[in-house]
Amino acid sequence: MRRALLPAAALVALAACQGPQSALDPAGPQALHLFNLGAFLWITASVVFVLVMAALALALTHARRRAAPDVSEAGEGRARRIVTGAVGVTLAILLVFLVVSYLTGRAYAVTPEGGRPLQVSVVGHQWWWEVVYSDSVQSRSLSTANEIHVPVGRTVILKMTSHDVIHSFWVPNLAGKKDLIPGYSTTTWFRADHPGVYRGVCAEFCGYQHALMGLLVIAEPPAQFARWYDAQLADAMPPTDTVASTGKNVFMGAHGCVLCHTVRGTDAGGRVGPDLTHLASRHTLAAATIPNTRGWLGGWVMDPQGIKPGAHMPPNDMRPDELQALLTYLQSLR
């Protein structure tokens, strides 16, 4: 019984390595470089650990069997040779580690030439991610938040900066960390080789809600990505029914939503908070903190400080009918 438990536990532990936010489940070349280096270091260290423990056990049992310690000239010489040999092997292993991690760093730093890389700018804010797809044709550029859609198999070059403090972009399944620094531009790249949803986090302490500053990278087949891109380029759909149009008036009105948020195709042009033009098409709200459902959206609009204390969205004191109309309008922004 107990013997069966061990492999079962190992399987459970290995299953935990899979997932949308795991450096042990690489989905692209950058993450694979890091995974290979990590695996090499881990396996080598494990082998060394097992050998050292075996040698220790051997020495202990060997010493117990002998009546008196061996202090002869020959015994001293043997001990000296063993210690020298072990130090030599240790140095050799460390040297191999050095060379392997250097080669990994070299390979990691090379941005692939050619092809048609997708250029995406990421701006860090306390506590959300602004994502801008820039195109040489200005009308083909678009802005969204907390969600990066990418086509599978195409290199994505991220140009990143920060609006306030230092943040760090980390999607473990795709690449290593890269800092976002105010007043300075950093560049990194990744490529997703398998379609999927990969979760990322801020990896540099950036204030009160650092822990709730997540994002999603959604890798999809190129055709699907192109459809998503075209849909995002469109202006917001005007409300079709009276409830939604009441909601639009609430949004444009006295609660001041428009001071911070943009809805393209309307008068709302605030640049402080995330662009809401296609809010309903996103998977999450508040930087991958809560699911994008009507209930959560209502809670977030009324009392963001209850969900994410310290976030820069103020609480809104709305009448129930105003709130319901607003939610209908926001959910119509597909």
Binding site: L259, V272, Q305
Partner: protein
């Protein structure tokens, strides 16, 4: 020669020093869901309700926790940029709008006066923010505007930043008491 101190006293002194050091960790409390002053009964800010400045408001400190709260002041500073106050007042030096970092106040230097200027707007271009910002946000802005002229405590005022600012908090050598502009400014005299 060393004075003998009983062991108990030394222990007590040590414990007290650690307690003092630990108490320094919490500088202030960040209250994210503050009930804004104007929402509390009795703390209502009186506003003149017209375009004309009207008589000066009574010299009472508004019941505001924001003036003593560094977090609130720095939030006000973010709002000052985000709401584009810099567009007219620049970083305190003024230009299109009057400067905010000197000791001359057209409509009064009290927090209530500043709050009122933000909420209701003023003639010649200052927009009214009352219908857009929450009173909580306007109090934070008020606190930051007051910090520009050195009217909040130094440990509360935000640190220096990269923008050009004539007199930075930590560099000011004297505190000049604010004085109200004598008489009515020309801009408010109607024909």
């Amino acid at each position: 020669m060393r004075t003998w101190v009983p062991r108990g006293a030394r222990l007590a002194a040590g414990v007290m020093m650690v307690a003092l050091a630990v108490s320094a960790c919490e500088r202030e409390q960040r209250r994210f869901r503050e009930t804004p002053p104007s929402a509390t009964p009795g703390g209502e800010v009186e506003t003149s309700g017209g375009f004309v400045p009207g008589p000066p408001l009574p010299d009472v400190k508004a019941v505001t926790p924001y003036l003593d709260n560094a977090y609130a002041v720095s939030e006000g500073k973010s709002l000052y940029l985000q709401m584009n106050c810099v567009g007219c007042h620049f970083h305190g030096g003024g230009g299109i709008g009057p400067p905010l970092m000197d000791d001359r106040w057209i409509y009064g230097s009290q927090p209530e006066n500043i709050y009122q200027s933000i909420e209701e707007g003023r003639p010649n271009g200052m927009p009214a923010w009352g219908s857009r910002l929450s009173s909580d946000q306007m109090w934070k802005l008020t606190a930051y505007v007051m910090s520009m002229s050195g009217q909040v405590k130094k440990d509360v005022a935000p640190g220096r930043d990269d923008h050009m600012q004539g007199k930075k908090q930590e560099q000011s050598t004297e505190v000049r008491p604010p004085r109200n502009y004598g008489g009515q400014p020309p801009s408010t005299v109607f024909p």
